[in-house]
Point group: none
Amino acid sequence: MIKIDPTSFIPLYEQVKSGLRREIALGALKPGAPLPSIRDLAARLLINPNTVARAYADLERERLITTRKGKGCFVSEESGRLPGRDILKRLDGLFEAAIQDARRMGAADAEIRRIFEDRLGASSEERGKWRSS
Amino acid sequence: MIKIDPTSFIPLYEQVKSGLRREIALGALKPGAPLPSIRDLAARLLINPNTVARAYADLERERLITTRKGKGCFVSEESGRLPGRDILKRLDGLFEAAIQDARRMGAADAEIRRIFEDRLGASSEERGKWRSS
Amino acid sequence: MIKIDPTSFIPLYEQVKSGLRREIALGALKPGAPLPSIRDLAARLLINPNTVARAYADLERERLITTRKGKGCFVSEESGRLPGRDILKRLDGLFEAAIQDARRMGAADAEIRRIFEDRLGASSEERGKWRSS
Amino acid sequence: MIKIDPTSFIPLYEQVKSGLRREIALGALKPGAPLPSIRDLAARLLINPNTVARAYADLERERLITTRKGKGCFVSEESGRLPGRDILKRLDGLFEAAIQDARRMGAADAEIRRIFEDRLGASSEERGKWRSS
DNA sequence: GTGGTCTAGACCACC
DNA sequence: GTGGTCTAGACCACA
């Protein structure tokens, strides 16, 4: 169950990648399981097949999925051993709560995202990435 | 104190807008206060003045700031009465906690953002905006 | 059929906006119809594509047109229901007559405009906008 | 009685010029009469004296006014013989009617101006000035 | 091919 | 000094 927001600033292919990564990390798609075909997923998401193809290509480069010619794409066997596999679930719960609260206060997605981004930027400690003042 | 991430998918001018909105909403910039000049802020953020100018123009259209030709830009007097003024403060605290926790678990900004976006999309109730499957 | 006067004080992008609004309001461009591509219109008007893009962005903010990424810009379906739709047609006729008369008396565009502006300012009832003496 | 719209696209100094030209053409300021001092007019219009000075300089170049050092500015004696003196009054009445009608229909100044400009451009016969399509 | 973002640097109106 | 407009040309996401 992947969701796409065509009005977001995040590129469609990144949203597709995020969605698939999520499905795999949370176990909805297990190692060895077949992914939907490019054309099929594109049709369901109402986007261009080229866009889905790019997402699949990126994920293959990450070794999260593998493509077997003529057979389609599959979740790679090593996907379970990739880093961040378990902490994802805990972080997921963390934000679920905050987002639910925000929604209860009547905030729309765009507003929630803006607040999140503001907070992330305002409190970031990473060096070299942010330019400030 | 505005922060910019030049590697983000979010456009620079949107990040500038977010940063200024935050400063105003949290009271660091009060109604009537002068904003940094376009050229000045651009120099400090290492971005092009046109990009800052676009952000200022957008905020003026939102009536959050006003510009006086030859004098500069100022926080509008009505900025305090605009919707979402105090709700933002509460939401801000909400996400501050989740982000601090995530950082403590060793997650980098990009990972945090991905989890947030995944959660937002996965639990969205908004109609018409999301395309799924 | 949009016309542009590069010597006017009115910004080019405002003239493009006016021209397109006119075409839509008068029915030359109907809801759903594709607008000329940004690059195309820019080439025909001998102005920079960025300038046309700015006009299109403004009109989209007015919900008079919509843009579909990679496909182009289109007259919005709701454009016909927006305020001032038919009033414009009547006002158009009003000024058409006055302008024709002025031309018949040998006045050039710049002179006509000056007289119009003088009259507008001299008889204005709007408060707060005009400074007088 | 000059009126200035600081939100107009037309430069302030052009609006001042228009206003003075109008006063002179309609006879409110007769040849030889003294003009308000630069500082005085600037103060009354709430604009910078430099701006008024530029308007006066332009009008002097047009020979509509003359400045006598240490005494101030005066309507020039030849102002009455300048072209367009009488047709202006007739054109003025022409547009007064159209503008009054437009106002009665609830149109604001900005809308009226836009319609006027659209009409002027759409029906112009001048060569070389307009770029079309 | 489409539109969107960003940069660099110009000129202008206004203070 | 300020902001506003315009140009030229680059790169990217999407169809």
